[in-house]
């Protein structure tokens, strides 16, 4: 979720007033995590369960009125990264051989695993992106803190988010400096310059990060960004959690009922 360096503001849809946005951040995080864990922990091949969860994720996307194009763009970038890692599962042994070329063979087991994991990943990424699009980083981190995530971990996440902006600033600065001297004119030169930029980035961001940290300390920073008093959960938050919980359970029950019917 932190890879969208071009458009750095992550919570582009946090200003809306929808039933999803009316939930306090803690509830939104809990709903998202419940669904993500349910999706991820469902054993491979339970397609019907994921169909139920997919409908739940789609319903949240519709209710929260996130821009579909933004959501797809973000999910696509992230899916590309993780998808490459997943390709290896396609060649897993077990089941019937569907296709073979030399030592490479695709089996029904491999296809089931790849399909299942890809679907899990797609649904999880979509849910998490809806959460990030609709909730500011500050609210997200404080929700995590309220949910008893270790303080140090939350502080590390806050710093990561803050320093990505520093990284972007420094890259842009060096890119402009290189462009102004025509260093991007040739393809070979371009590669060389990008290599050097990456090298200097480590040194420069280290220094700049230190200065920013000092500025934060100078204004009383103690490890977590300050936040206004956390909002109290209301009846609608409890209702939302109950609905998500029922959906999570019904996905599993639906699968087992259908299975026992056919058996």
């Amino acid at each position: 979720m932190l890879l969208h360096i071009g458009g750095f503001r992550l919570d582009t849809e946090s200003d809306r007033n929808t039933p999803w946005h009316q939930l306090i951040p803690r509830t939104r995080v809990l709903c998202a995590f419940l669904l993500v864990f349910a999706i991820a922990l469902t054993p491979n091949g339970q397609w019907l369960t994921w169909a139920v969860y997919g409908l739940a994720v789609a319903a949240i996307a519709v209710i929260s009125q996130v821009r579909l194009l933004d959501l797809i763009k973000r999910v696509a970038v992230e899916f590309l990264f993780v998808g490459l890692v997943l390709l290896g599962t396609l060649f897993r042994s077990g089941g019937e051989v569907v296709w073979q070329w030399g030592i490479l063979r695709i089996t029904t087991e491999g296809l089931t695993v790849l399909g299942s994991v890809s679907l899990k990943m797609l649904l999880c990424l979509t849910m998490l992106n809806i959460l990030v699009l609709t909730t500011s980083i500050s609210n997200l981190l404080h929700a995590l803190k309220e949910l008893r995530v270790p303080k140090l971990l939350v502080a590390i996440l806050f710093s990561m988010h803050r320093y990505i902006q520093v990284l972007v600033d420094e890259i842009n600065c060096m890119k402009k400096a290189a462009q102004s001297r025509n260093l991007f004119a040739q393809a070979r030169g371009k590669r060389l310059v990008i290599g050097n930029i990456m090298g200097s980035l480590f040194i420069r961001t280290l220094e700049r990060g230190e200065q920013i940290h000092q500025a934060m300390l100078a204004r009383g920073y103690t490890g977590l960004p300050p936040v206004l008093d956390p909002p109290l959960s209301q009846a609608r938050d409890r209702r939302a959690l109950a609905i998500v919980l029922i959906l999570v359970l019904s996905g599993q029950i639906f699968h087992w009922q259908l299975r026992s019917t056919f058996n």
């Binding site: 803050r162 300390l217 100078a218 960004p225 206004l228 008093d229």
Partner: protein, 256 residues
């Protein structure tokens, strides 16, 4: 306001690479004084400023801020007492919007609700920025002068008794520089201003401390030091422009 907010006695500091940045620094600053800290690059100005806010702790000697000795336990109170404005506002503005950045300090002090809003608005008005207009703007998209003002507002919102400024007029255009000088002149707090802008020092500060190689080589009247061309040259400085021009009106300048 504390009558003797800063006391520094025989403070020395060396960086891990062995560079002696401060050597036996000793001075007092009284309430409402406005003191210029001048010196060539690498003379130890920034290192000294970081000691005043507790970002660096003295290796030898003692620093007392108000009545608090500079120790790790007293750092939260000291940082509320001494507000530090950094040279580069880009390093200081780290929250997404102007409003969030100015509220960062007072919220760390525990302020919430109406009191927080009032203090933030006052701080923004004090630096000449309309909270309604600037509050929601992303801090990164402001002009250099506006960023500097927001950085100062962020410190003012903490209501410190001492404001320490590192090169406040660096990177500012003449109008922003003039506005900033008026602003500093209007603030009642004790101020310590590290600067290469000797005209600013001359205009705003009655007292000047000259640092060279980590040592104080002059501490006294601003007019006396800034009028001494030989002494200034000896320490890699030069007369303020307002002193160095030998004529009052441009039309009296010799034709070339």
């Amino acid at each position: 306001m504390h009558h003797n907010p800063i006391s520094i006695q025989n403070v020395s500091y060396s960086y891990p690479d062995g560079t002696q940045a401060l050597n036996q620094i000793h001075f007092y600053i009284h309430a409402t004084e406005r003191v210029a800290l001048i010196g060539a690059n690498g003379s130890g100005k920034s290192t000294l400023l970081q000691h005043l806010n507790g970002l660096l702790l003295p290796q030898t000697g003692t620093i007392t801020i108000g009545e608090l000795p500079m120790t790790a336990d007293n750092l939260p109170a000291i940082r509320n007492f001494v507000g530090l404005v950094f040279q580069n506002p880009d390093n200081q503005l780290f929250m997404p919007t102007v409003w969030e950045d100015v509220t960062f300090g007072p919220m760390n002090q525990g302020l919430r609700g109406e009191a927080l809003e009032r203090r933030t608005e006052l701080a923004l008005w004090a630096v000449g920025l309309d909270p309604m207009r600037f509050g929601k703007r992303p801090a990164g998209n402001l002009s250099g002068g506006e960023k500097k003002r927001v950085a100062i507002a962020g410190v003012l919102a903490m209501e410190p008794q001492v404001i320490v400024l590192d090169e406040p007029t660096a990177q500012l255009d003449p109008r922003s520089r003039r506005q900033l000088m008026r602003l500093l002149d209007s603030l009642p707090q004790t101020q310590i201003i590290a600067t290469h802008d000797l005209d600013l020092a001359l205009e705003l500060c009655n007292r000047t401390i000259l640092l060279s190689q980590g040592q104080i080589v002059y501490d006294g009247e601003t007019h006396a030091i800034l009028g001494d061309a030989d002494l200034l040259e000896q320490y890699a400085l030069e007369l303020p422009l307002s002193y160095s021009r030998p004529y009052c009106q441009l039309e009296h300048a010799p034709l070339r």
